[in-house]
Every structure is written in structure tokens, then in C-alpha cells.
Symmetry: none
Subunit: 211 residues, 4 copies
DNA sequence: AATGAATGAGGTTTCATTCAT
DNA sequence: GATGAATGAAACCTCATTCAT
């Protein structure tokens, strides 16, 4: 009598590795490197503790992979929409809208970026390829150049600093979500509040650049 | 007969408490709640471990005191400069300059605020008085009202969102110091870079508001 | 009603440290650094695991202290008996007897010396003061000089190599106790066997030196 | 129809087994049973961990095979040179020279013998055939008998103890290589030092036996 | 007010071994 | 004959906290 094929596939390397990685993303972004124990990660992943070391070497190794995966989400930030004949104001509006949308959709990105800054770039310095130069900068520089050629902008504008201005305007709504409630009385979990912030930023920054 | 006061006071409660508090500020801001051990704090403070429990109850207690002390530094943020007849543009310029100056002088404030946001306001929720509403908001509202009355501003502007815009513009240069190096190629430790950022922000935001 | 004085003294630092040290001597000599776990040591010492780290820093720290204590037993090896007017042959006999007696009384010394040699002097290189130059060498050199002056020895004899010869003759009976049973059929646990070895060594080495 | 033999043999059982064995010899002799992990052995052997269990059952099994191989090297110790008409003094000189040469050429033998003694013959007791009685003893007994018959030796000499004396004299230079540097100031890695030791031993032991 | 000694739980990592293919 | 995946136990060490003085 032939032994029936076991329907439970027990050995599935990619699945185990993937579950560990997803648990890592979730927990590390929520509580930071020091706030998460290896035990918690493997419990959440539903696998043996030894497997983490098998696939990632150690806790650091998993953390680096988590950063790699989450920071790679940046590639999903559309930048093509800036090319060609887009009017300058519209370009600025699109960048701001793009950042708000991206940060809204990727809270783990916000958190991990903050953890990394608090750790003084501890892991980024060891693995510089994890976070590369933003491709938006070059597009923004083109936008600025075109606008200056057309006379819409009447002075020199450093694309890097302008981008930081745009980015910081959006980032604060997600990074400081909890303290803004206390200091500004704004509940940044409400879509309406975020929308108000985005629209004010669009209004002022477009005017300010083109004035 | 009263015991004569020993001129050599060996026990100096305030000194010990103060040293613990300063060690806590330094270490908690640098490495966060989970990244610091009680042993490290008392070693840095040069006192016995038991003293921490004597003065602050436990690790949490010290942490809360650290937040209290550091967040209280906000009171040093001069806001009087906005009163009276300051022109609108100048007011915006002063707020931006004030934030840059404050964040530059209080790196522990930046860090602890970030830790607290990453912890979803864990300690702030339990101790709401640690971080109160910014007094700048009301001053800014007055500035806006005056400007609208004079016709310098031709639309409704929410003071809270405007302040977030101003604040976020400054905060990003300190909170994301390490990742901006990778993504924007900006070294925010250099005074010149910070100065460029401040001036661009002043230029664009003043124009944008008054346009 | 006054609370009676607790007769059980619970806090006795020197006792705890001492028990840890004695457990270390016993276990490390019996099974080597790698063969013993911290848990075993503290169980044997009857104290908490944390105490080992409190008193010795880590496993290495305890091991070094163990070496220090056991190697210091060498100081008990009497060397005064060689001074003065002792005849040359008697001096050699005394050294051999002294070594046999010492090794017999200090089996942990034999073991730890062997472990250390197998580890290529790993700990000794880091702590050279643990094992200093044998004071017997100088005494033996005097013995040789006197004997040469008297004409009892008719050639140059290097005291260092002569001492190794004496020492090796004794040491092998303790270091190779288990394999000598297989290769030579000698049970070195029996006092009679050791006595035979000592007497043959005395006979041959005294004759050989003075011939 | 017979399946044609594949000329490219990918599976080479003896090669894998041999590599594991050589890795075992190298690592076990250098760091002892407890100091080596199965992972290290298979990494050094360049094969899969499962292979160790396939060929040797478990870690113990490999260790026993390692002892077998290394202890079998003893057979290479020439003893024929003692036969026949060799003068007594020359026989002693040859045994000493033979031991020095053998120990020099087989450092793993020295180490594994020491590990085994430190483990109180743990593996030898379970596998007594690993280390058999030295054939040199019988030859030495013949030498002694002949010498006594010729009147060169004027007293009873136990061949076993004499051989331990010869052996211990040589062994100490290799077993205690590291501690002799500290206690005697002798660097036993230098050929000149070993040569001095051998010659002094020859001088004294031949004289002492024949006196 | 201040201290050194002590604790149990939990931290990260490595161990020898076996499973399923 | 050979492999990568998986496991539970145990390794060394650190944690926040409390006790007895």
C-alpha cells in the first residue's frame, strides 16, 4: 500500500525566511532594534529561533535586511510624473502629494528612518548602499532650470535644499504624529488634518518659489 | 546639646540627584530608553545603583524626569520677539531662526522628542503635562490676523498648520541629519549647510505667505 | 516583642567569592576551560549565576584567578633545603623528591598546567605574571658550581636543561597517568609504583651527573 | 543492458571521509574535544554536516577515529635499531633520539595524548585497542639483560621505569613547551634548545645507567 | 543618605543532532 | 552519497530590581 503523499509541506525555505523578514519589519519598525527580542521575532514568525541565525547570521543581519527591504520601497515613489512639460507649480504640487502619499502608505519607512537617525546612522554607515541618493533631486533640478529659463524663478535655488524643504514639510506630519497632538493640537491620524497640511504646504511653497 | 554641624558635608542629596539626572539626559537622548541600562547611568553619574531607585523610584521614573527637564527647555524659546509692531515677514524669519537656533542648541530635545514619537507617545500619554501646547501658536495667529487686516495676506491661513510648516522645515535638518547625508548629499553638521537651509526656507516661506 | 536576630548570616562576600573560586579550581582542573559551564560552577558554589560576573567579570576572569591561585601553590615548593652544605647527590635527590611530593599533593596544578600548554599559553601570554621563573634554577646552578669546584662534575652542565630533566622525569608520572597504564602497564595511582619511579630516577640521575 | 559507468565521478566517498578525518585530526589536536564544534570540522573539510554523521555516527565516533589514526603513528617509531649487537649506551642514545624525533614530527600525537590524559582516559577506557603496549619495552629489557650479563650494569633495573624515565625526559620538551618558557626561560621551539636537551639527557642517562 | 551583595528572568548566540528530499 | 532546512537544549552574559547593613 503506497504511502500517501504528505499534504503538509514542512520544508519551505523561502516561506520561513520571508516570515522572519516580515516579522522583523513589523517589530523593528514598531519598537526599534533594542526594543525587540529575537524570541519575539521568531514567535511571530512561527519558527524556531535557530532559523533566524541560519538565514540572517544574527540579529544585526536580520535588521540590515529589514532596512534593505523597507528602504527599497522608496523606488516606488513615482518621479516620472515630473518629466516633460509639467508646469513648475504642478511639479511642486506633485512632489508634495507624492511624499504625503508615500509616507502615509509606508509607516515602517518613517519609523525605521527615524530609528536609524537616532542611532546616528549606525547601520547605514556600515551598509551605505541601503539608502541611496534620491532620484527626485535631479528631476527637481531640471524643473528649476526650466523655470529659471522661462523667467518664472528670478533667483538661484539649490535643488537639494528645496527638496529638503518639501520633504521636511511632509515628514513632520508623520514623524512627529504624537507630539504634534500635544504641541499643536493636531491629530495627524485624521485624513482631513493631513489634507489641510498638504494643501497649505502646496499653497505657500508654490507661491514662495514662483514669486 | 545640639550636635555641631559637620563642616565637611559628605552627603549631598541634590548633587547626587542632579548627577543622575544629567547622566539620564545624556544617555537616554543618545540611545533611547531601551538602549541604556541602569548600570550605565549610575556609572556615569558616579554613584551607587541604589540611589537611582531612591530618588526616582525606577528606570521609568528617571526617564520621565529626563523628559520633564529637557522638554522644559522649550520655555527658553523666545517668542516675545513676535509681539507688537514686527512686520509679518520679519516675524516668520524670526520664528524660523528661533527654531534653528533652539534645535541647534538642544540636540537632546530633538532626540527625546523622536524617541517619544517612535514609542507612540508612551510616556507622554501617561504624563501629558510634560509637553504642553506651544505658545508660539497664539502669537503666530496674531501675526496672521494683523497681516490679513492690513491686506498682506489675502486668504485664510490656519496658524497651526503654518506653524507645522515652519517647524517641520527646521526640524528635518536635525532629526534626519544622518539620512539626509545619504539621500540628499547634505552634511547637516556643517554650519554653512544649515545656514543655506535657513535662508532658503526664509525666502520661500515669507514670499509664499505674503504673496 | 523584639524581632530575634537572624542567626543565618546571608551576606558574606568573601565566602561567596571563595566558594566560586574553589568550585572553579575543582572543575576547571578536572575538565578544562571549555569543558565546564558557568552554570555548573555556580551550582557547585551554591550561589546565583550573576555572582560569578559580579566578582570575576566573566568566565575568563574566574579562570585567570583560578590559575593565579593554583600556580601560586608553587611557592610552597621548598627550595631552602638545597642551601648550604648539602652534598650534590643529596641535592638532586631532594629536588626529585620535592617534585614528586608537590605534584602528588597538587593534582590541579598538573592539570591546569597541561590545559594551559594545550591552549598554547593562551591565558599565560595575557597574564605573564601568573607563572614566574622557577627559583629552583638558581639554587641548582649553585649546586652545580660547587660540585664543579670540588671536581665532582667534570664538564659543563646547563642548570636549565638539568632542571628540565629532573622535572620531566617526575612530571610524566602525573601528566601521563592514564596513558602510561596502556603503554607501559604501570598504574601510577599506586604509591608503590611512584616510589619505584622516584628511586630509579634518583639512582640514575645522581650517578649520571656525578659520573 | 548495463548502465555505462559515468566517467565523471562526483561522489567520492573515501575523499570526503578522508577530508573529515584530517580536519578532525587538525582541530581536535589543536583545541580538544570540547573546543571544536561539528560545524567547524565540516567547514574545514568542505563538506556537508550530515556527512560527518553518515561516516562516523557522531562527534564521538569521529574523535575515536582521530585517536586511532594518530596513535597508530606510533608504529612508525623504529625499534629495530635496538636489536642485535648495539652497545648499551648506544641503545639508550637511540631511544632518546627516536623519541625526540617522533614527538617533533607528530605534534598532534603529543596533544591528543595530553587531552586524553586530562580526560582521565575517557575514550581510551572505552576503546583500549587505540593505544597498546609499547614494543620498545621488550627491546629495552633485552638490552638491560645483555648489559647485566656483561657486567655493564651492576643492579636490577626495571625496564618499564627506565623507559618512563627516558620517555618523560623527551616528552616534557613538547608537552610543556609553553610553560617551560615562563618557568625555565627555554624556548622549546628552537631546534638548538631541543638539541641541547637531547644531548644532556643522553650524557646523564647513559652515564647513570652504566655507572 | 548611601552602599555592596544578591537575585531570577531574560538577552543573544551556538551546540550536537535529525528530518525530508 | 549527499544536501539544505529545521530543532530544542544549553551556552555565556546582562537586565531591572531588592535586600541587609
Amino acid at each position: 500500500m503506497p504511502r500517501p503523499v504528505n499534504p503538509k509541506i514542512k520544508r519551505d525555505p523561502e516561506k520561513t525566511r520571508g516570515k522572519l523578514l516580515r516579522s522583523g519589519v513589523k517589530l523593528f519598525s514598531a519598537r526599534g532594534y533594542d526594543g525587540v527580542s529575537v524570541d519575539e521575532i521568531v514567535n511571530q514568525a512561527g519558527c524556531n529561533k535557530r532559523m533566524l541565525y541560519y538565514y540572517f547570521g544574527n540579529k544585526d543581519g536580520l535588521y540590515v535586511e529589514v532596512l534593505r527591504v523597507v528602504f527599497a520601497e522608496l523606488e516606488g515613489l513615482e518621479v516620472e510624473a515630473l518629466g516633460g512639460e509639467v508646469p513648475t507649480g504642478e511639479a511642486i504640487r506633485r512632489i508634495l502629494g507624492g511624499y504625503f502619499g508615500f509616507l502615509e502608505k509606508h509607516p515602517e519607512f518613517v519609523s525605521l528612518l527615524m530609528w536609524e537617525n537616532l542611532h546616528r546612522g549606525r547601520f547605514l554607515d556600515a551598509h551605505p548602499q541601503l539608502l541611496t541618493k534620491s532620484p527626485v533631486i535631479d528631476r527637481l533640478r531640471e524643473v528649476i532650470d526650466r523655470a529659471r529659463a522661462r523667467g518664472e524663478i528670478d533667483r538661484e535655488v539649490d535643488a537639494r535644499h528645496l527638496l529638503v524643504l518639501l520633504y521636511g514639510t511632509c515628514f513632520i506630519y508623520y514623524s512627529n504624529r504624537y507630539t504634534l497632538r500635544h504641541t499643536m493640537g493636531l491629530d495627524c491620524r485624521k485624513p482631513a488634518v493631513l489634507h489641510e497640511g498638504l494643501e497649505l504646504a502646496r499653497d505657500i511653497l508654490v507661491r514662495g518659489l514662483l514669486a
